[in-house]
Subunit: 230 residues, 4 copies
Amino acid sequence: MTERDTRNAPRGRLDKRQAIIAAALRVFAREGYGQASLDTIAAEAGVAKPTIYNHLGGKENLFRHVLAEIAARSNAKTLAALQTFPTDPQELRDHLNTVGLRLAECFVDEQSSALRRLLHAEIARFPDLFDVVLDSGPNQATEALAGRLARLANAGYLTIEDPIRAARQFVALLTDELPAMTALGTRPINPDDLERAVTAGVDTFLRAFATPTDAPADPPAREAVGPLPG
Amino acid sequence: MTERDTRNAPRGRLDKRQAIIAAALRVFAREGYGQASLDTIAAEAGVAKPTIYNHLGGKENLFRHVLAEIAARSNAKTLAALQTFPTDPQELRDHLNTVGLRLAECFVDEQSSALRRLLHAEIARFPDLFDVVLDSGPNQATEALAGRLARLANAGYLTIEDPIRAARQFVALLTDELPAMTALGTRPINPDDLERAVTAGVDTFLRAFATPTDAPADPPAREAVGPLPG
Amino acid sequence: MTERDTRNAPRGRLDKRQAIIAAALRVFAREGYGQASLDTIAAEAGVAKPTIYNHLGGKENLFRHVLAEIAARSNAKTLAALQTFPTDPQELRDHLNTVGLRLAECFVDEQSSALRRLLHAEIARFPDLFDVVLDSGPNQATEALAGRLARLANAGYLTIEDPIRAARQFVALLTDELPAMTALGTRPINPDDLERAVTAGVDTFLRAFATPTDAPADPPAREAVGPLPG
Amino acid sequence: MTERDTRNAPRGRLDKRQAIIAAALRVFAREGYGQASLDTIAAEAGVAKPTIYNHLGGKENLFRHVLAEIAARSNAKTLAALQTFPTDPQELRDHLNTVGLRLAECFVDEQSSALRRLLHAEIARFPDLFDVVLDSGPNQATEALAGRLARLANAGYLTIEDPIRAARQFVALLTDELPAMTALGTRPINPDDLERAVTAGVDTFLRAFATPTDAPADPPAREAVGPLPG
DNA sequence: CATGAATGAGCCTTCATTCAT
DNA sequence: CATGAATGAAGGCTCATTCAT
């Protein structure tokens, strides 16, 4: 007995919540917390206003849920982008460019940008949200990235003392120009421009952290993935 | 004998405009554009509400004036911080640390932070403000900084291809950790922490751009980091 | 045993719309569009102010609905007054006096007067309303009246070339003195005065349009300003 | 180099009052009492707002002065139009058409129409103004017109019992269609249409009041209120 | 007197929230 | 649970009026 045929209407029993959050996400991102009106959100979600109060209580709570949702999505995207981090020594620059581009794409992603704007806008009203989002997002990504960089360092391709810091600086160098180029995420960016920005960041990163290759190389011969070598 | 404002000042002063902008600046920074109420601003400025409309027209215009004001102040501060940029070769790292600290202090400055938050918050409603502020602030600072860096490069102490990019990256590396450490500018930062962050940024910057001093002199006749040479 | 309003009637009635329109009608008529305040209307209707916005949108729309309502009522009243128009030749003057009195009563009716005042007052702001009201009211009445007069003309009792014009002139002669006598409808009129005014109008109308009764026809044997001496 | 301000400024010593009243007249006529703002009036008069309070006290008083002014002008115009009333028997219809056209032109005059609209609009707020205007305007005109008609009656060309009533009815028949044709005075009227309306009114008036000319003469010999004998 | 500046009051409108169904 | 209807509170803006110059 599948309740499939009740797709449309009766489905709403429970995932109206999803519709509400999705609509709220759009509206909040578009108009900000203060100017966003529950009427608009309700209309855009196709539900009545009190339904919002039934599923989520009030505007403030709705906002928290929305932010948590975007943060989770952005985080997932970013972690996915790091999944394919190169473990292969050769073509280090290319690999960094590739993963850097993925990260930059996450950075300029519409929802990620909206999240940043909303955080900036409402941190005064919701001081706690900042840490919540930070922990559920960038911090995890930084840590993951730091791990990858540490591996490369261990493999001898990079010279890194503090991987966390290096990870942060990698991202800083990658995303350096993006806010100005996208008007804080409100204007789309030309893919070529994005790639150029990434290349510039990676370039400087390598100038700072690439292990000099004067010695004809023969890198530490280890599989590189080996964390914490012996 | 300036009758500044010690006068009985009961009514009709001309500098109420200043009071209004100052109050608006505080209130907008504290509550954001949407939630800030003209009642609050008027009360905080010690004027009646219509006085705001006499001096500046409406909420939107007031906001624009306020943003222009903060942007101008922040820009002035930043340019002042760059004024004393070292042109003297010795102690390059110390000098960069010093000026970096000044820049970082500008970055975490309360008004500067508020400006960043307001821009993020309201860029959707005031798309034009972003470019205005950018041109009247960061862009000028970046250019000034780029000039200083170019001089150092000319003197052989740094190896820089694109001074504008280097300036941007310098700032990016300096301010890298500050948003997280100050909760987007809403929490004061420990001076030691600030210095540590600056030091870290300068360190990486020098790793990337300092001319190798093995050969004490004759500036790096190399292509520098010629991107992806052969 | 009508549960008129003895019901607890605490909230959420549907006929609040009627209450709002009724109250708005009173307030607009009393204070004019510009000075009428939605607070007053809401209070007088026993509803909260936003309820007005739920049922009818905004002040302007409310005004239009109110005017349409009065126009419709006035029109209905006037057409009813014409329903009993005499088709019977004898006692033509009496019949005209009777129907003239009915029309004059419609003219001095409180709501009809208020409608005229509001139209005059706000025609600059609502230029379209004039034609709307005209078509939904006076024009219909004039046409109906013209039909009745034409029938009398056909029957030989009146000599009328252009029935529409005659109808208009009939009304003009009837209502001639009423604005001055009622202070544009703001002061009640003595029924005797009203009747006198009507009689005077009918008299002149008959002098202009009554078919000469040279044929024996027992003319209006009364002296009464007798035109057409004979 | 322009002596612009010498022109109107110093002259303003005393007739700023005139400028204010003229501007107020325009603004009140255009926007009505309620919506007219003293700011607009002051701007249109080229004076500062308090100047209005110096010359005339407050909005209400200004309105009274303005209405008195328009009423006086309209009255003067109307009386002037009656000045040339025919006393000469021949061509009675043409003469009535001529003077009727003049009266109708007074009726559709912009200021006269505005006066009527303002009176309708604000009679509730200024109940006394109605009688003031009536006495200073229409009543005088009616009386003057009645005198002329009485003279014609005395001369045997018209058969009139009550000249005041006849005068009122003459005007009523003349102006019958004008409100509808001019949208209460807000739309200009085609001169031909105006003439047609007047002709129609005069026609009916003559049907009602013209002495039958079968027996060419022996006028009713009554004095009939005839003022201005001779 | 004339003016620029200031103000208290008020209005139209909208919002987040809650009953009652 | 979901909804239509209703509401208290508040916001932005404007106005008629008054000081102080």
